[in-house]
Point group: C2
DNA sequence: GTAAACTCTTTACAGCGTACGGAAACTCAT
DNA sequence: ATGAGTTTCCGTACGCTGTAAAGAGTTTAC
């Protein structure tokens, strides 16, 4: 994968000095291809995304796509940056905490709509325009709260890491069950007897206690309908808030 | 994928009432296969793990593996539970905070040794013995700090999510660069000119300001050699601590 | 009109997971 | 000892993947 070409594609810059003047016009656009690929990945997952599957609904052969996109990896890069454009603006947020809340929830919403996104975000080496705008937005929200640049970066990393982990966790819970083609009830019917034989109260006392409290029961795991995302987010923001307060106390009046 | 069989394999229970007495003995063990697969995944990544590649160093054909393991997915399940056995014990930790610190760092260590792990953890639907023990340990560390079962689960989810996200982020940074077969310097040499043309100070002022501070420079991103993991972990624990303190204040003396 | 340039297609290859059927090995009943 | 039963292991094959290579077809420049 040539990074320069991948980057140029992300920003939709033609690398060649002059556009081709000879030869037939292209019948497709990168955007059409990317959007088709996104809809396939949304429906069937990133693993089921193949060049042939993208080409078919566009009415071309798989190899035609290679005139628009260097390869599958670069296509996925473009897909990622495209959906990151759905992130909400933080411009008019009321303070850093509200901005980070909106940022995190926006990330979670994207993950819900596009379950294939969380494993991909934040490679950071190949940022497209939308990912760049996201970084600019969240760093702007953190500007002027008294953290230096290094600490701002750490904070964004923290929130990114949490959102990413939480999103994947909620997505994974369903994954196995769907692959088996079962309902949750059927799943527990099949695994329950074996599980209860293995997870004994003597060997795993603390887990058993929590299990018996019934909070594991529902798919949402009894953490609320969001799988505990909001709870964890508030704890993360609490931790950041304390740090900001401490920093403010260290350097009193400017 | 049959969940009952997958679970039985994870716990190494022979499902059939009696072991086969007739026929040749098996020349391999599930553990040998799992360990071979782990070493391949460690070296080349999970994507490069194929049944044929696992079979070859064991001196058998790919299809022989199917007498031990129902398929690739179940093998990966076993690999995951196996490496989760490397997690440190939390038994003699000094308080919940020290225990969670050790838990989080242990998870990060596993992720460093086995970069393919983070995307897999916490499907929760198919827990093996080691993953179960991890849950028991961390829930035990949180028992008696004044949180109810639901909130304990949220806290574990929070830490899990953070560790997972942070681990993947640090692993991803290198991913693209390695795939391109370049050094970091070569990478920036190739992408730098284009990047600087796109990421202008007018369009992305806040990002540019942080960029110019130089904290993006190193692979570790200037967040310390751990990529900001410790910083974020302390913020997460701060947030949890505040919550625990507030809970304690709500229900004063028991 | 012809040659160059470009798009799109066809074919092909190496690799994947694994279904299927057969060969070899081993145990047991006789 | 021998035949039957059972299991392990292997060879082959199928449909899938990304994409290299080469050819066919279309448009423009000269």
């Amino acid at each position: 994968m040539d990074p320069a070409r991948a980057l140029a594609l992300l920003w939709r810059i033609e690398q060649e000095p002059t556009r081709p003047s000879r030869g037939p016009r292209q019948g497709l656009t990168v955007d059409r291809i990317v959007r088709t690929a996104i809809s396939i990945a949304d429906a069937e997952g990133l693993g089921a995304l193949s060049m042939r599957k993208v080409a078919e609904p566009l009415g071309v052969s798989a190899m035609s796509l290679y005139t628009y996109v260097p390869g599958r990896a670069e296509l996925v890069n473009c897909m990622l940056d495209d959906v990151l454009g759905e992130a909400p603006s933080l411009r008019d947020a009321d303070g850093w905490r509200a901005a980070l809340e909106r940022y995190a929830r926006g990330g979670m919403d994207i993950a819900r709509r596009h379950p294939w996104v969380p494993p991909l975000v934040s490679s950071r080496m190949l940022m497209g325009p939308n990912e760049t705008a996201m970084w600019d937005g969240v760093l702007g929200a953190l500007a002027g709260v008294g953290l230096d640049e290094r600490e701002m970066l750490c904070v964004v990393h923290l929130v990114n890491g949490y959102v990413r982990g939480a999103a994947q966790q909620s997505a994974d819970a369903d994954h196995d069950v769907r692959r088996a083609g079962l309902s949750y009830d059927e799943w527990y019917e099949k695994t329950g007897p074996l599980l209860e034989r293995m997870i004994s109260a003597e060997r795993f006392p603390d887990l058993t206690k929590v299990w018996r409290a019934g909070v594991f029961e529902e798919p949402g795991e009894g953490l609320g309908s969001d799988g505990g995302f909001e709870y964890g987010l508030q704890r993360v923001l609490d931790g950041i808030e304390e740090r900001i307060a401490r920093r403010a106390a260290e350097r009193p009046a400017p």
